[in-house]
């Protein structure tokens, strides 16, 4: 079991409100990802769930039990930090087993749990090493192992992969996904990375300034964002926001994803000038300057030979466009 419920959760540091009235329910076995711009309170919310920060007002319930004042070690949670946070004076085995040892588990049981976790993470050969003698990827696997050993109700990850290089990040991401399948445990995961959020999450929670903007499955957020902020935040490269007036539409802006714009050299459409081109092999990103819309990103599949200063015509797929009002809220239904 591992079900989490936040009711009107608030957190202030002095007079600064960092988390404002967050309501959220995470189901047993769910992989829930928190995303949001830097400083929006993702880590703070995670630390509140862990019990490392007091909750200013509201309730936190784990498996239906109020844990507002329960110390972290008794919330049956485990946390993996961006900075690994391994005990430098203990070897890998003791690092992973310390939680159980503190809980008074018998030695044999701790050893079994550590061996099992080490097996899952390919750490059997490193059990006697100190953290200082491990690579970054191995250290993060030890930190994940330390979490597994505790058999927690909730796994909490705070940007666990951001210190790893790109290749290792992909590999560890897959490992975490496998782990989630194998353990069937509830996981809450904070990240900056679009790909991590989209690939790992059952549900994504988009935060801004301590408030939840939208909660939903990755494709739900991609295909049906509630407002301009979520539309711009989910998807990479970022959605273009075109001037609604210039397109003869109602509202303030028309959102269209870079992959939903075609480029042509003549005919009808929005005329513009190529200002920069990025060739990525599998896809080509063309940045087109078009007044009064500003810089518009166009994502084309395959290789294309547009050059800077070329005059081009953009043809957005208006069936996939989103319309937003002056407050950035979605206009439903889309104006004709």
């Amino acid at each position: 079991m591992g079900q989490l419920k936040l009711e009107n959760a608030c957190k202030s540091f002095g007079s600064v409100d960092v988390i404002r009235d967050v309501n959220l329910e995470v189901q047993d076995g769910e992989f829930c990802v928190f995303v949001g711009p830097s400083g929006c309170g993702k880590s703070t919310l995670l630390r509140m769930i862990a019990g490392l920060e007091d909750i200013t007002s509201g309730d936190i319930l784990i498996d239906g039990q109020l844990v507002n004042t329960t110390p972290p070690s008794q919330r049956e949670i485990a946390m993996v930090f961006q900075s690994y946070a391994l005990y430098p004076h203990l070897n890998v085995r003791d690092n992973m087993g310390l939680g159980l040892k503190q809980a008074g588990q018998p030695k044999a049981e701790i050893a079994t749990a550590v061996d099992r976790a080490a097996g899952m993470l390919d750490l059997q050969n490193y059990l006697t090493r100190r953290p200082g003698e491990l690579s970054g990827g191995q250290r993060q696997r030890v930190a994940i192992g330390r979490a597994i050993v505790r058999k927690p109700k909730l796994f909490l990850f705070d940007e666990p992969l951001s210190n790893l290089d790109a290749a290792l990040r992909v590999q560890t991401r897959i490992e975490i996904a496998n782990l989630h399948r194998e353990l069937g445990a509830t996981m809450i995961y904070v990240t900056h990375d679009q790909v991590e959020a989209m690939t790992l999450a059952d549900r994504i929670v988009v935060l801004r300034d301590g408030r939840i903007e939208q909660v939903g499955a990755p494709m739900e957020l991609y295909n049906n964002p509630a407002n301009e902020f979520v539309a711009g935040f989910i998807g990479s490269p970022k959605m273009n926001f075109l001037n609604a007036g210039a397109l003869g539409a109602a509202g303030k802006s028309v959102g269209i994803r870079p992959e939903h714009i075609q480029l042509a050299t003549e005919g009808d459409g929005i005329a513009g000038r190529v200002s920069h081109v990025e060739h990525l092999g599998g896809e080509t990103l063309v940045y087109v300057k078009a007044d009064p819309h500003g810089l518009v990103t166009v994502r084309l599949f395959g290789e294309h030979s547009y050059a800077v200063n070329d005059q081009v015509i953009m043809r957005p797929d208006m069936a996939r466009a989103f319309y937003f009002d002056d407050n950035g809220q979605r206009l439903h239904p889309a104006p004709a």
Binding site: P72, S73, S83, A85, H89, G99
Partner: protein, 283 residues
């Protein structure tokens, strides 16, 4: 640890220059000590005739050491100094680190003010309070005890210790402490097993800065504990310094002997300085 000299490979000239400067400084700094050592084993006349000369077979004379070891309770003084220094050092480091941890780790009302208050002692010499301290010690019946000295030196050493250590305590990774909290370690265990080892280099620095003035102090032993049983080495050596006659052999011998414990303690701490550089905890 990367060495700036090896990374600037082939830059022999700069390496040589740096070493020349360091060696020159070392000689300059150690020369007085060297003079004390060589003159402590010379005849009185030889000391005055040619203070810079090395002892020869003719001028060699261990009379100073004999005097020191026979006259006065030199071993007792020595022991007193050692007890006072080590005990004060222990309390300064323990309480200093604890206060620093609390100041760095916990958010409480008046945290900043408390930090400033504790650091104030760096700027105000404790000797200004000598009269009051003496009155307190008299009232507490602690005059002529080593306890009085340990108490005063602990108070004297704490401000700088808190000031330096709280800066280092702040650098101990929050994630590491939080990981320990999740694993169920108490705040005391976190302090002793996680924070302390990580600030060991800073502790060694503080220890060195704290130790030397305590070992060399003459003021408080003279005022608070001048009794024969509680005399420290520095105070005890004063009997050789007369108003009209000074037994230079004995003074130099006493000084030579007094150097050794300091050197030994320093060696212990400097090794900690190097060994304390822990890596792999975070990042």
């Amino acid at each position: 640890m990367s060495n700036p000299f090896t990374s600037a490979r082939g830059n022999l000239g700069r390496t040589a220059a740096a070493h020349a400067i360091l060696i020159a400084y070392t000689i300059l700094a150690l020369y007085p000590v060297f003079l004390i050592l060589i003159n402590s084993v010379k005849q009185r006349r030889a000391i005055f005739n040619d203070p810079l000369a090395l002892p020869t077979a003719e001028t060699f004379d261990p009379i100073g050491f004999q005097t020191v070891l026979e006259q006065g309770n030199f071993l007792l003084y020595f022991q007193n100094s050692l007890i006072v220094t080590v005990a004060s050092l222990f309390f300064v480091l323990l309480f200093g680190a604890m206060a620093a941890f609390a100041l760095a780790e916990y958010r409480f009302r008046g945290n900043l003010l408390m930090g400033l208050y504790l650091a104030l002692g760096i700027m105000i010499p404790i000797r200004l309070g000598t009269v009051a301290i003496l009155e307190i010690m008299v009232a507490a019946g602690l005059v002529n005890t080593l306890t009085s000295l340990v108490l005063v030196y602990t108070a004297q050493g704490l401000p700088l210790a808190v000031f330096i250590l709280s800066e280092f305590m702040r650098q101990v990774s929050d994630d590491l402490k939080n990981a320990a909290r999740i694993d169920g370690l108490s705040e005391y265990r976190i302090f002793f097993t996680i924070a302390l080892p990580l600030v060991r280099p800073a502790m060694a620095t503080v220890a060195v800065f704290t130790m030397i003035p305590i070992w060399n102090d003459l003021w408080f032993p003279l005022i608070l504990a001048p009794g024969e049983a509680t005399k420290t080495l520095t105070l005890g050596s004063q009997i050789f310094l007369g108003q009209y006659v000074t037994d230079w052999n004995a003074v130099l011998a006493a000084l030579s002997l007094a150097i050794f414990p300091v050197v030994v303690l320093y060696l212990i701490f400097s090794r900690q300085l190097i060994r304390g550089i822990t890596k792999g905890a975070v990042k």
